[in-house]
Amino acid sequence: MLSVHRVMGSETEFGLSQPGNPRANPMRDSARVVDAYAGPRGLRSSQNFWDFATESPLADARGFFMNIADADSSQLTHVPAEDVEAQYLANVVTENGARYYVDHAHPEYSSPEVLTPRDLVAYDRAGDLVALASVRALEKSGEPVNLYKNNTDSKGSSYGTHENYLVDRGVDFDDIVAGLIPFFVTRQILCGSGRVGIGREGESAGFQISSRADFFEAEVGLETTLRRPIVNTRDEPHADPAKYRRLHVIIGDATMAEPATLVRFGSTSLVLGLIEAGLAPRLELADPLQALWDVSHDLDLAAELPLSDGSTMTALQVQEAYYSACAQHAGDDEDTASVLAEWRRFLDGLAEDPRSLADSIDWVAKWVLLESYREREGIDWDHPKLALVDVQYHDVRPEKGLFHKLEQAGRIRRLTTDAEVEAAVTAAPEGTRAYLRSLAITRFSADLVAASWDSLVLNAGDFGVVRLPMSEPLKGTRALLEDRLSGIETSAGLLEALGVDRLKTKND
């Protein structure tokens, strides 16, 4: 039986601007953003604090490594210390087990690992509060920085909102690619964030469904910063590589509306379950990239997408095929049922009148808002005010962000409460190793030398410096650790409680 339950996480690269100073160095400002959060909370921030030992950004899921000489420098996740940019590489593990750091020229929040799409919504949104706290801290500085949870400046640059899903290593990667491409090409109608302008630099006036679609140029590939592919092959599981893949999804938009985030992660988790079970619909688009762009540019949702067998389907029909297969094989747990109900509601609403979903899907909410402005002011799509509305929709400040204004006015459905999201900023998810990572940050920080998704490096007294692997994402949970670690305050005590034995030299 399929379930939405799966280890997953989100990554948000925030757009940033220093008001009145467009020439500000974005790497420096990104580091200031991260440090402004870390400093007051006593969190350590340096590149060396992240344990890069298991990172492998050039490992390709198709079974080979890209030669480092062939890689663009933007593909590397670790900048050599002598590089002048290294001074700006702030790296923080936050109290909830997330990573907050400088990725290229953007501050990025990578959520802790969670088990359900509903928890993902809370922990993804907790990242927006982390970003907001940075903005607030810098407001008092001479160089304030504003942050935007969006994906493009419509001047040729795009930056990512990524999703990560733990997938069974036993599944053939070709099956993952074949099963995902038609789903990803059409998923944007459920969870696109909308964008003013068509083309990477907004060459044509107008509005489109996805903020990212125009920046994709390949069907499958390793790159994330150039020649972006619909399915990314980065094979860096951050877990036991013999058992797991981490599917790194780079094609999504930054969703603000909670129902859209829920459906984005929930539907994808179910479709991965279909693929793992060999039950994915047998659909093959004749030209996936053209279809991706066509779907994004078609607000009527009427475009007929050519299939390899000579027939055609609309984006809604492709989504119906995936929904039906998932619904047919789904178990009846509550989390799965709520995702399927929302997915169904989205498909029905989109078929009837997309505008009925202005309370649930960002591209629709933004589109309805923009159309109202256009009508009231008699302006066309190339008017700068509409481009401003597009950017400001994503401002993380509740008093400035237009999404937040709509949500505060009760025009966007909400799944979480303020209290729940605030708690998620400092308390880790309980059902994954994020719980142990969070404990290390909050209780054993004095001894913590470095951390990463799948390791802790502790300076543990008589043990010496110990690297504790966390290659099982479902270990290190509250259920496994809370009692065992009760009252333990030293890292040596932590290691003993976890059953780590010190190697002894035999002298006899």
Partner: protein
């Protein structure tokens, strides 16, 4: 601080609207019609010089 931001601050300090509390239970009372009434509120928070803001919103590429 830019003049844009300063103008905005002055605007809200000068008897602007009080912060809106999020509704207790949003489900079931969603208003997707009558967007016009929200336009006035949004006008009050939009950056004042749209052209300058949009021109200056330049990002470096990311992932």
């Amino acid at each position: 601080m830019s003049s844009q931001e300063q103008v905005q601050k002055d605007h809200s300090a000068g008897g602007g609207e009080p912060p809106v509390d999020p509704p207790e239970a949003v489900q079931g009372q969603i208003n997707t019609q009558n967007v016009d009434s929200i336009l006035d509120e949004i006008d009050g928070v939009l950056e004042t010089n749209a052209e300058e803001f949009v021109r200056n919103f330049v990002q470096k590429g990311g992932q």
